[in-house]
Structure formats: structure tokens, C-alpha cells
Subunit: 351 residues, 2 copies
């Protein structure tokens, strides 16, 4: 156990990311399963900068080697695994619904087929706006989830930042009364407007920089919001706060993702405190609900600098937990200008 | 909208349970779907005492009638539904995994078949100890969930209160290194001991009243705990606090359920604040993961007194959200004696 503790302490010192013996244990357990760096990050569920540092320290201590692009346990590493009784990861994920608990069926399935075609022409994700989108199936699974929770039919729904084309998915489903989307990237807004016209979807799509306060007509006018904020505590406060500012009253809903890739559980706790302080309650936390398609600009991101092996990701590795929150008595949104750099902290890796 | 607001305010005044226009809307939406009281409580996801009161007020305002044991919308009720655009509930729940996201397969399936046989002889749930157990499939789904999250293999696991026979399920799975159970009901402890002997399960089963501090050897000795606490804020603090007191270190896990049947979302927020203050982070919230088999003593519980139609529940109606929490830096358990009545508040219905 001593070596796990030692590596954890050194890793935390070098990265400023909270690290525990269990963090090191999880990285080792991941390496038992896979030689691929991105999959190790995925399985261990620790922030990427920490995983990268732990791997370097395990290598320094002769417990893993880097052979080409592979990460492998050494003999000493295997002995440690035996000695400490470290077990590999096993999944019991439902394959019907990909572990999400909800399925896309019936009329939602028809809308999904349309969406699949439409999104083929989507503008690619660019680094400038920190973009990355989930799979089309994932986007529709969110629609299924929100409808299952009663948040769409006859409701006013707003999407704040739409890399995922949620607005199109929602409008195609025909369930909400109104769909509005505020998005900084003109390419996306134009794309959404074109699709909306072609398919008669009536999407209210506007170019808007969410660092600026919301347009007045949008404040307090919605039943449900969707967003996918950057993960510093300040960014969550600001962007989820923006979402809350669009809501009409108590018992309205918000949906957003938070990763383990760029946030430690210690940070998660601070994030959850912030949510509760806003007068929100968390009703759903669905682990790995969201799976992000690998983006082209990976060599520009911080994570690439940190990885001990320079091999581009092939399979999906970047995932997030789907949060659903609801406003209760005393809730308070945030609609002031957002200034300064709230996008980066010690745990970031995609900026 | 005015009538919804009026009924919400009067319902809150009469029950002391927070009530909103949306609460009334959800009860009406449930009545569109079903004439059965217990199913209305299930679908609306509001505390039972509040649902009962809202139904009585809807009746008073001529919007629903009680015909025999059925709850039906009147013509005026149907008009209101049309006028306000109230939509019925629709489910997108995955039928493969019953919405849980995890499945029981492979070696877990074998252990589950054994468990099915064993639990046929279980002692029935009694009111004295506020007992109610989940379905056998549900019990094993929790095992699958915990294994999927890496909380069982080679770990020390403790169960605090075992109506669900989690200890037997865990031991049958062969995954934990050690299984301990503390339970107040001697019948259950004896049953578990007999099964443990017969199947060579080595379960450490002890009679213990959790209102008393934990046995010393149990403090700080476990990686994972399971419990199912009563739902006043004080009880959660005490019983989840007990669970946390059994944990070894940071990054250890706890599992417990919280219902919408006996807790409003306003209370949920206070509960979540308490959890975070204990130095926990919430990693999973799985809505309706747990389904409780109807117990015999329903006529003794408060909910029965409150229901406007006296028809015993047939189908499962009592469900809870599965919480998974993890300890982070600064966590603190609770091991003082628990005194006074912490089991009842305005939202209780099964006590």
C-alpha cells in the first residue's frame, strides 16, 4: 500500500489534482485491461492530467513500461497487482440501452432516423469554441430521457450552446411547444436555421455569446434547459446559472454533463455544493451517459501534451455523467456578464 | 394556472409538504393515465400525503371524482386538461434492464438463481422495524451495479440493516473479500446465519441496533457500505453517517435509496446538503432503480389513513432512487448514539 500512497502524493504535488492510493490503484487496474492510454483514462475515471502523471511515476518506479504506443505492466508491476489483490474492471452495462436506462423507440425512432441524415452535413467541431459533440444516438437518448421525465411535451425548451444539435433533435421529436437555441458559433446557427427552414421546425436560433447576459425575452421564459458547460467551478456556476436564469419557476428542469476526464471527485463535490446553493436539487446522475465523438483538433489540446504515449485516440474515450437538476424553493439564476478565464484549471485537458 | 396555484397553496397549508402548481399538474397528468391511487402516487412522484391531499382538493373543486375505488377526471377536469395543455406521462424505460442500466449476466446469473430459491423462505417484512424489501432481481441488480463501479472485488463490504438480504446476494456472488451485516431483527440475522452455514458463505452476521454506536472492530474497516435509511433529514444524517463511519479512507463507496414517496424535492435538497457536508460526493442517482414488494402491514401505515380510496395496492408502487456516494477529502462519519424520534416528519407515509 505504501507505494500507492507515495505515488499518489507525488502525483498530486506535480499536478495539483487531488490524488489518492485508490486513484493509483484504478490506473493500475486499467492497465491490466488495456495497453491504450485513452482507454486507461476512460476506465480509471480520474482526470487526464492525473492519469498521465501517475503513469509516468509508475514507469519511474519500474511498474509499467511504454513500448511503442503501448502501456504495459512489468514483472514487478504484475507482482504488485498480485500482492495487493488489485482486480481488473468488469462491466455489467446493459447493451440494449448502452447503460443509459432509456431507449429510442416508436415515433422517437422515426425522428432519430431523420436526424441521422441531417447531421451528416454538420459543421465539424473546432477548438476555438471548445467544441465536441456526442454521438447522434446519444443526442436522441437525451430526448428520450427528458421526455421520460416529463420535461418536453407542451413545454418551452432552450439549448445554451449546441454542438450536439439538441435543438434539431428536440424539434424533430415534435414534443416541445417551443425550441430556442443560443449559440456563439455562426456556422452552427446558420446550419440549424437552414435545417429548421427545410423541415419546418420553427426553431428560434440566435447567435449569442453566453458570456454576455441573456436576451431579455429569454429570462424566466422556459420550462427546461440543456447545456454542456466547461468544468471549472466558476464556469459551472456561470453557465448552469445562465440556464437557471431562463427558467420560469420552481420545479423546472436543467440538463448538463460533467466529466471525470477534467474533474476530480473533490471538484465534483464543490460543483454539487454550488448547484445546491443555487436552489437546485439533483434528481438524476447517469454515469457515462454521454459519449463524445473524437474531434480533429486533439493535437492542440493540453491532454495531448501530457500523454506519455503519442497515439491519437481511435475509440470513444471522452464521456460524461448526465446531470438532471430541478429548481426548488429559493432558486436563483445568474445573468451577470462573465469575465476572465473561467475555462482552465489544473484538471483541464481539452482546452 | 390560477386553480393549480390555489390548490397547491391549500395542499401545502394542510399537509406542511412543499407544493407547487407543477405538483398539482403532475397529479392530474397521472390521473389521465390511471384510476388507481397507488399508481397515481407512483407516476406523479410527489410525497404520498401531498398526493392524497391534492386529490381531495381536486375532488372538492369538481375536477376528479372517486367512483368506488377509482379516481377519474370529471368533465370539468378534462376541460382543464385541454385548456392548460397537460400531457400524460410517457415512459422510454429500457425493458432489458428495467431502466437500471445494468444487467445480471454470466456468473452473477448463476448466483441470482440460487438467491431466488433461498429467499423463498425469508421472514416476512414487519411494521415494527419499518421493513420492506426490494424484489430479488433488484437486489442482484445492486450487486451488478456495485461490481460495475469496482466496489466489490477483493473489498470489505458491510450491510447496515438487511431487509433486502443484500448480504446473502453479495456473498453468493463470491466477489467481496468479506461481508458483514448488522441488523436489529433477530429473525433476519438467524435466517442469514443459517443460509451462510448451509452455503459456506462466511457472512459475519450480528444482531445490532443501529441507534447504538457501531461495534469497535467495524469502524473504519470497510471499503463499501449498503444501507436503506428512513427519510427524515436527521435519519439520513445518522444512518448514512453510520455507513461513512465504517469506511477506511477517501474514495470508498456507499449505497442507499431515497424515495419521492416520502420525501419532497425540497427535502431532497436538504438531504443532499447534508451528504456533501459529511465530505461525500454523489456519483450516481438512478431514478426508480429500487422497487419494493408490497408488504402485508399496509393497513397500519400512515399512508393508508390518508388515501381517499381504500383499495390495497396490487402492483409495485413504492420505488426509490439509488444513490451512490464516495468519500473525498475531509469526510466525517457519525458514530454517536441516536436518540429521539427521527423517523417521522410531515412527508412520511409508511411509518
Amino acid at each position: 500500500m505504501e507505494i500507492l500512497k507515495q505515488i499518489a502524493q507525488e502525483a498530486e504535488k506535480n499536478t495539483q489534482v487531488p490524488a489518492y492510493p485508490r486513484s493509483v490503484e484504478k490506473v493500475i487496474a486499467a492497465v491490466i485491461s488495456t495497453p491504450n492510454f485513452w482507454k486507461v483514462v476512460d476506465l480509471s475515471d480520474e482526470p487526464l492530467p492525473l492519469v498521465a502523471e501517475i503513469l509516468k511515476l509508475l514507469n519511474k518506479h519500474g511498474l509499467v513500461v511504454f513500448e511503442g504506443n503501448q502501456i504495459l505492466l512489468t514483472e514487478a508491476g504484475n507482482e504488485l497487482v498480485k500482492k495487493l489483490g488489485i482486480e481488473t474492471f468488469v462491466s455489467h452495462r446493459c447493451s440494449c440501452c448502452n447503460g443509459r436506462g432509456v431507449v429510442i423507440e416508436g415515433s422517437l425512432k422515426e425522428a432519430f432516423e431523420k436526424f441521422l441524415k441531417i447531421q451528416e452535413k454538420r459543421p465539424p467541431a473546432i477548438h476555438q469554441y471548445d467544441q465536441g459533440f456526442v454521438t447522434p444516438e446519444n443526442t436522441f437518448a437525451r430526448v428520450a430521457l427528458a421526455d421520460d421525465r416529463g420535461d418536453l411535451r407542451g413545454k418551452n425548451v432552450i439549448v445554451l450552446g449546441d454542438d450536439d444539435l439538441m435543438s434539431i433533435a428536440l424539434a424533430l421529436s415534435g414534443l416541445p411547444k417551443k425550441v430556442t437555441i443560443l449559440e456563439i458559433d455562426e456556422r452552427l446557427v446558420n446550419f440549424i436555421k437552414e435545417v429548421s427552414n427545410e423541415y419546418n421546425l420553427n426553431i428560434d436560433a440566435r447567435v449569442h455569446d453566453l458570456r454576455q447576459p441573456l436576451p431579455e425575452d429569454v429570462v424566466g421564459a422556459y420550462d427546461t434547459f440543456f447545456t454542456d458547460p466547461p468544468e471549472t467551478v466558476e464556469a459551472i456556476k456561470a453557465f448552469v446559472g445562465r440556464g437557471v436564469a431562463t427558467l420560469k419557476s420552481e420545479r423546472c428542469a436543467g440538463y448538463f454533463g460533467v466529466t471525470r476526464r477534467e474533474s476530480s471527485l473533490d471538484k465534483w463535490r464543490r460543483i454539487q455544493k454550488v448547484l445546491l446553493e443555487m436552489g437546485l436539487v439533483i434528481t438524476d446522475l447517469l454515469h457515462n451517459f454521454n459519449e463524445y465523438v473524437n474531434w480533429d483538433y486533439y493535437e492542440d489540446m493540453r491532454g495531448w501534451q501530457l500523454t506519455p504515449v503519442k497515439e491519437p485516440p481511435k475509440d470513444i474515450w471522452y464521456k460524461s455523467t448526465q446531470f438532471r437538476v430541478e429548481t426548488v424553493r429559493g432558486f436563483k439564476g445568474f445573468n451577470d456578464p462573465i469575465v476572465g478565464d473561467i475555462y482552465n484549471d489544473a484538471e483541464s485537458s481539452t482546452t
